[in-house]
């Protein structure tokens, strides 16, 4: 059996974009596909100068830059073939960086960093040991939960954060056959906040939105353990418990008097800008490597069309559905017309002889 070839310690890399490869064959394929390809007919050439000559002779166009190359390495006059022709200073700089443990760009996939904005919120998870079989959550503080499962509650002196508005639960009458169920999201009676003068010194003030809660799970433990979820018996709801459409709509219109007019599609002058920024910075998942692709809707005059990419849906402010829903035919203009349309729908269904659930279409 032959001796295994030792792989060179220094991997080969592409002069134009600094990407690393396991061997020179793959590097050459990469250069042909990414840097030496004719933007007009997609023919793959062997060198940058070969590509320039091809484009000039066949398509009568001038190419001044190597496509997909870093800005300082776009020159077409340097003859690069694989690792051949790379200036010594570039070689030294590249392998010098490698020794300093600079992560090389992955050839297949992007591996972005995570940008956590809010971090872990309080009371995120039950303490270790309470997982295993997933039990139905109990949110009523009056009912003791399973051992070790504390329901996080804000201190009595701290009001709930603004993101937790809870309307009072209106219980529907329950049938005798169904055992009374604890509400999932009980409204906790919280005393008004104490003034700073009265607040006891021993209690540290909590920052807004932070409640006392069990310590979060250590990182080594899976965040969402896979347990055999205890499937709950579906509770049978007797007929007549659910409010009919008309009553429900009336109830909602009384609770939300300006329900219909409260939502505005963001397509006016105040809508967010369409920023197509690839630059590194906040929220972009780490530093960008190499030049960003050009995202445009029109090919810039000074650049060959082969390098650009076009977002088909490029409205960052609105989703496709929002744009479509903003058409006049989908607009409900005022509350009265919406209530009328609901009434009309009810009347229409009453007058129909066949069941809505069995309609042919």
């Amino acid at each position: 059996m032959g001796k295994k070839k030792k792989r060179p310690v220094e991997k080969v890399f592409c002069y134009y974009c600094d990407r690393e490869f396991d061997d020179e064959k793959i590097l050459l394929q990469h250069q042909k596909a990414k840097h030496f390809k004719c933007h007009v007919c997609n023919k793959k050439l062997s060198t940058a100068s070969g590509m320039v000559i091809h484009v000039l002779q066949v398509h009568k166009e001038n190419v001044t830059k190597v496509p997909n190359a870093k800005p300082e390495r776009e020159a077409t006059d340097i003859d690069i073939y694989g690792m051949q022709g790379i200036p010594p200073d570039v070689l030294a700089a590249h392998y010098g960086e490698q020794e300093e443990d600079t992560p090389s760009k992955s050839a297949k996939v992007d591996v972005p960093g995570t940008n956590i904005v809010g971090g872990m919120m309080p009371g995120g998870f039950a303490p270790p040991g309470t997982y295993g079989v997933m039990q139905r959550p109990m949110y009523n503080p009056a009912v003791p939960g399973p051992h070790g499962w504390q329901v996080p509650r804000p201190p009595a002196w701290y009001p709930p954060p603004p993101g937790m508005s809870m309307p009072p639960a209106v219980s529907a009458p329950q049938a005798a056959s169904v055992p009374p169920q604890q509400p999932l999201f009980p409204v906790q009676s919280i005393a008004p906040p104490l003034s700073s003068a009265v607040a006891p010194v021993s209690q540290p003030p909590y920052p807004p939105g932070v409640h006392s809660s069990p310590a979060p799970i250590p990182v080594s433990q899976p965040l969402f353990p896979v347990g055999a979820a205890a499937t709950m018996a579906n509770q049978i709801m007797p007929a007549g418990i659910l409010p009919d459409m008309k009553a429900s709509a009336a109830a909602y219109s009384s609770v939300h008097p300006n329900m219909v007019n409260s939502y505005h599609l963001p397509n006016g002058p105040g809508a967010a800008n369409n920023s197509h920024s690839y630059a590194s910075g906040p929220n972009t998942g780490g530093p960008s490597i190499g030049p960003p692709p050009v995202i445009a809707n029109k090919a810039p005059v000074n650049q060959p069309a082969g390098n650009e990419v076009y977002l088909v849906w490029e409205d960052e402010a609105m989703s496709m559905e929002e744009r479509r829903a903003s058409l006049p035919k989908h607009q409900v203009h005022d509350e009265t017309s919406q209530m009328n349309s609901i009434d009309a729908a009810i009347d229409r269904r009453i007058s129909e002889s066949r069941l809505a659930g069995r309609m042919a279409f």
């Binding site: 490869f21 396991d22 992955s106 050839a107 996939v109 992007d110 591996v111 972005p112 995570t114 940008n115 956590i116 872990m120 309080p122 995120g124 998870f125 139905r136 959550p137 329901v151 993101g163 508005s165 309307p167 639960a169 219980s171 529907a172 999201f185 409640h211 080594s220 899976p222 965040l223 969402f224 353990p225 896979v226 499937t231 579906n234 659910l242 409010p243 009919d244 459409m245 709509a249 109830a251 409260s262 939502y263 197509h276 929220n283 995202i295 990419v309 076009y310 977002l311 088909v312 849906w313 960052e316 559905e321 744009r323 829903a325 989908h330 069941l355 809505a356 659930g357 309609m359 279409f361």
Partner: protein, 351 residues
């Protein structure tokens, strides 16, 4: 072995993959597709204000479907969900209402939930016996069906674009690229809020079957594979898809295969592909339809993949001709090789 960045072949006809065509499709674009968790009943919601149901009969490689029933909303319907027992369908949309339709019993639909703006996505959470709805009014609302008011209203940072639930994990994607993660054992508090790992508008989400993270798709033809655990951040990556040379199309749908843990993406380019996130491979690239694929779904055992080919508004109103536009719902029977992940041999990442 295909890699994550390669493109699909361009298919110019309506049904290049020779999928089974569902009869009597909606008369306008399809906004959501969902199979019953208990049987091969397929629900489609549409911009023609209808919710339709078909019964799919499958014997081996033969497949047949028949229209079963339909109900109407007053405005376009954007989303739907099945109850876990397969008896009931929920649907919501531009009329700002959720209708509960006891489909199997043939009952009348009733309004069980309302928002102050169109309802964009919803999910039934069997472990809690509640329906969760996400709206452009910047709220999530939890509904106990026996009560008229929501049992909890959760403020979101922006308009809800997508949500995905695998109890106890819920992930909500909103406008401005916000991602809000909830642990449903404590649903009144955000577990974590992050900016999307993708640089463009969030389009769709899918929680991992093992609940350790989620997939996210954007309008920039890219999917992010994101883990929640800080110790697993090195496993995060993104890949490009649904691109045709210089045209970048939106990723409209993400669906995990119920058995194999692989997933499907569907996009505005008219293609759908099957992927394995663990080996970072594309398992199968299907031929492109001549219209966008607006939504898709696996049935409960993963033997049928339903997808809708119709105009998704990705090129605006100017590219929509109601007179000639036609919507299709197709059923594809995936081969095992298309959806079964390959064991990962060593490190597939080239450096």
């Amino acid at each position: 072995m295909s890699n994550f960045t390669s493109l699909t072949n361009l298919g110019q006809n309506t049904n290049p993959n020779k999928s089974y065509e569902v009869p009597q499709p909606p008369t306008d674009s399809v906004s959501s597709l969902h199979f019953s968790p208990k049987a091969n009943h397929l629900i489609a919601t549409s911009w023609d204000n209808q919710v339709r149901c078909w019964e799919i009969m499958q014997s081996g490689t033969n497949i047949h479907s028949a229209p079963k029933a339909a109900i109407s909303h007053d405005q376009p319907v954007l989303c739907s969900a099945w109850k876990d027992d397969g008896t009931t369908v929920f649907s919501g949309g531009c009329d700002k209402q959720v209708k509960m339709w006891p489909l199997l019993s043939g009952g009348q639909p009733v309004t069980v939930a309302m928002h102050d703006a169109p309802i964009k996505d919803m999910a039934w959470i069997p472990e809690m016996n509640v329906l969760v709805t996400g709206s452009w009014d910047k709220t999530l609302r939890y509904w106990d069906l026996r009560q008229q008011n929501p049992v909890h209203t959760q403020q979101l940072p922006e308009r809800c674009f997508s949500l995905t639930v695998r109890h106890p994990l819920m992930v909500v994607g909103t406008a401005d690229r916000n991602i809000v993660v909830f642990n449903l054992q404590n649903p009144q508090a955000e577990f974590k809020r992050i900016m999307s790992p993708l640089k463009y508008q969030t389009r769709c989400l899918a929680a991992f079957p093992d609940k350790q993270g989620f997939l996210i798709g954007s309008i920039e033809g890219r999917v992010g594979v994101h883990h929640l655990d800080d110790a697993q951040q090195t496993k995060n990556f993104t890949f490009k898809c649904h691109r045709d040379n210089n045209d970048i199309y939106s990723v409209n749908s993400l669906n995990f295969h119920p058995a194999h843990g692989t997933f499907a993406t569907a996009g505005s380019d008219g293609a759908f592909n099957f992927w394995d996130k663990d080996s970072k491979q594309r398992l199968k690239a299907m031929s492109r339809c001549n219209q966008p694929i607006s939504c898709s779904a696996f049935n409960n055992d993963g033997s049928i993949f339903a997808y809708s080919s119709c105009y998704d508004w990705s090129k605006g109103a100017e590219n929509h001709n109601p007179a000639t536009a036609k919507s299709y719902i197709f059923l594809h029977l995936p081969q095992e090789a298309e959806v079964k992940g390959k064991p990962r041999v060593g490190n597939t990442n080239r450096r």
